[in-house]
Amino acid sequence: MIQTQDLTRRFGDILAVDRLSIDVQEGEVFGFLGPNGAGKTTTVRMLTCLIAPTSGSAVVNGHRVGQEDMAIRRTVGILTETPGLYDRLSAEQNLQVFAQLYQVQEPARQIERYLRMLDLWERRQEPAATLSKGMKQKLALARMLLHEPRVLFLDEPTSALDPEAARLVREFIAGLSQEGRTIFLCTHNLDEADRLCDRIAVFKNRLLVVDTPQRLRSQLFGRKVIFHLRQADQPLADTLRGLPFVQDCTLVDNKLVVRLDAPETHNPEIVRTLVGLGADVLFVGELRRSLEDVYLQLIKES
């Protein structure tokens, strides 16, 4: 649904986006992670035809950026970093404006549908300025969906929201992905990306890595298993380190932290080895790295 090939954008001497090549599949939630100023918004703006690329190419929903901009604008939805509502207009009037601009069939029905879905129906007559931040964001979500776009660009959808409102928005986004829409999610909320995204791209002016959250973790840090023993010592660690499938083993208090490629295959053998050496195995668990660790490591390396 979204393909880019060496997509590049310069602002004078500043290289905001450097040769970005990605391929986002239909129905995928694609996380676009990066620190502030990494070029995430610039990328979204290029893909939604708000600004032109300096070089490279992109195809969104089958239409080429720079050649079929109107067709792209008609078929994608964008949630900008700030809701950008017309404060003096009511929630309903805000949606009416965009329903007309997108030439939505049966606008009144669509407006009612999304206002009800997002719990805004009772407050539809109130000026947008009087709504809470969370409600404004929900109204912006409704505005993005009026014309039923199959591709959605969400730029930091929960950045200014309190935890409860952020959770509601996240649940709504999860619902959108279940409807089969393709979602390009810019965020620096790693927990959000971990929960919502099928794949994640870590980006800092250039693409650092793209993969599933799970694989990113194992690629960077490998998989580690902790064996809690009643009493552990260095000879036990040395013995495990000598096993052919063990990549590394360290002793921490009464725990052995073992790095493995396939814990599901090798854990039983390790347990047998330890028991054979007279150790009491109390508990075995996988050491899970958070996506934050992955992200910070990648950004540090870049």
């Binding site: 900008t80 950008g84 003096r88 009037q93 601009l101």
Partner: protein
Amino acid sequence: MDKIKTIMFKEWSEVFKNRTVLFSIIFTPMLFTALPLLILFFSRGDVTGMGEQVPPEFMRLCPPGLSPGECLQVYLLSQFMLLFMLMPVMIPVHIAAYSIVGEKSTRSLEPLLATPISTAELLAGKNLAAAIPAVLATWLSFGLYGLGARMLAPNPRVLAAIMDPMWLAAIFVAGPLLAVLSVNFALMVSSRVNDPRIAEQLSAAVMMPVLLLFFGQILGLVFLTRQLVVMLSAVLLVVDALLLYLAVRLFQRESILTRWR
């Protein structure tokens, strides 16, 4: 056309809820209508015998058949009639100057530009939203002035002179052209600045030509004639076409989004 109408009605829904703008749209026409009517009211009565000392050069400014006193009255009124030409320049500045920069400051411009609307449609909507109230307010004010003049004019000769076809051309032809000039100038300024107040102050510069005409006439340097109104309208037509073209060319979506912080 539907998108142009959408933008236009959206602008009105916003603008007419802004008390400051609403006040200036209502108050300016009321004031500018009241001033010439007050002049007429206080100078009414038999003026036939007044102003015998008026020089013959001055009499040439008036239509034939008027007495010097009537000529003086018509001359005095014609100074204030120019306010009806200032109105279509002044009123839309309040609306148009805020038009783009207002959307920048509320951050509503980006979602708007992401919709399938062309620059020409967007600017046409914003143009009409600012120009139509200004033109209607001017015409309505002039209509009220015409009614007042019928009641207050001392005689049919003076009434005919102050409701001269020249003024009708000035109000009904040059007026809308002046409004378009003002709107496009204000839109160009609005799309290139980041502060609504700066946009309004800079846009006010468009009033200078009409103010120069106003003061030039008070000082006796120029006097509005039928030929001058026709010439002025022709020049405005060309300038408006040029400004419309420039407004679309200078409205660069990309620069507006990326240079503004």
